[in-house]
Amino acid sequence: MKRGSLAIKNLLRKPGRTAALVILTALLALSVFGGSVVVGSLRQGLNSLESRLGADIIVVPSSAQSKASFQNMLLQGTIGAFYMDGENLDRVREVEGVETAAPQVFLASLKADCCSVKIQVIGFDPETDFFVRPWIEQSHTRELGDLDVVVGCKVEAEVGEILRIYDERCKVVGRLAPTGTGLDTAVYCNLSTMKTLLAAAEEKGVSHKVSSDESDDQISAIYVKVKDGYDIDQVNSKIQGHTRKCSAVRTKSMLTDVSDSLSAISGTVATLIGAVWLLALVILVVAFVMIANERKREFAVLRLLGTSRSMLGGMVLKESALCSLAGGILGVLTASMLVFPFTTLIETSLGLPYLRPSAGTILGLALASLAATVLVGSLASSWASFRLSRVDPGTVLREGN
């Protein structure tokens, strides 16, 4: 009989024992695969935020409670509507070292069509914008017309659909690629559309601290790119001094905060995975040693029937490898069922940029988790395998009598 089929028969003969080993190894695979996908998604989210921001400095009104409120808007999609004098844009452009300064206007809708969900509307100037435009151009190459909007990937509206914002019928002309940030929950339009929406909001009696007449002179944020060779901190200080009732925030400091949170979460996840692996490894070693003691007589008989030591050792290793492989597959499948469908829930719970890695990366992580689980399962059984292969049939069978 082949050792492989004998190993499978041995496993099927003791379903309780096999199930316990499979569940234990599944726990290993679940923790390592689930944990690595979550940490990988957080890293991908941070990279996406870094590449998406593009600006060196962001100027927001002091009323935006400095960077905290704005940061929440970017990371978690918290609705934000704050305004400052439009003159600040010219003041920023006058500062030495400023290469480009692009304004944005924010508006919070009362509710969307379907339900009582508020939508963040972001108006940008297509002429100067370097923040939203490159992103929009990935999915919509034409200029945005009046009452044309482009929606983030988490706004459930298809291209061609009409989105009613303050009773204005806005046509969805594009859906943006996911960034894993709060920007995915916003709707984007040009400043002309924004002016119409602000006027519509005023008609509805909703004050946005800016009247429709003044909308050209009121902005919510200025994204600044600094010329090469200039010190960003110095330019930041100059902007702070030149503008009124504004806070100039270095994007790097905002990203550092996010990066620190990510490191803390990664550390916690790594510690948890380490603890689970250590615990499971100890339990596996003990389990295999106990199984080895229990199966001494069985192996003594096999030795008497002519099975070599290496064949016996190989059979035990094969059994543990099969158990680990089954457990690894079960663990990876369970982690997939827990992590992938609930991506949005995990993202909103963590409050950090969260972008799922590519399918290739996920497949690689799954295979690596499987390989690690099989390796650890086989290693855990190696001592038991060595002991069983060294069984002296005569002594063991006499002890039994």
Partner: protein
């Protein structure tokens, strides 16, 4: 002879979670103004499907005849497959992916219904084969 079916027992457990969860911890968004969005009715539909699954699973556990049991479990599997398509496909949900109905209710109900369908299907096939081998 009546035999215990682990698949039907698992389906009963999952069905209870669907029925209870769809109107509580896995339920849709609660509107502060007291109005009901379409996601509320999706939750109500899932409650109905969950209760139907509970009844079918209990019947699948209690019925002695293998072929009848298989039929009941296949019907439960079909109802569970229907449940997969209720939130978001047959009944609209809220317009933002971050809303509770889309972030929690939809994936949870789809997952629970898929697992229920799988366990009902497998135990139904087992019951049918067992009944066939006896005749």
């Amino acid at each position: 002879m009546k035999q215990f079916s682990p698949g039907a027992a698992a389906a009963l457990l999952l069905s209870c979670v669907i029925a209870v969860g769809s109107v509580s911890f896995l339920g849709p968004c609660v509107h502060v103004d007291g109005s009901f969005g379409s996601c509320h009715w999706a939750g109500q539909a899932m409650l109905g499907i969950g209760l139907l699954l509970v009844i079918l699973s209990v019947a699948g556990l209690l019925v002695k005849d293998g072929r009848v049991r298989a039929g009941i479990l296949f019907a439960a599997a079909a109802a569970a497959v229907l449940g997969i398509f209720v939130p978001g496909t047959l009944i609209n949900l809220c317009g933002m992916a971050t809303m509770r109905c889309r972030a929690v209710m939809r994936p949870a109900m789809m997952l629970l219904c898929a697992l229920t369908a799988l366990s009902c299907l497998l135990s139904g096939i087992a019951a049918y084969r067992k009944a066939g081998s006896k005749t």
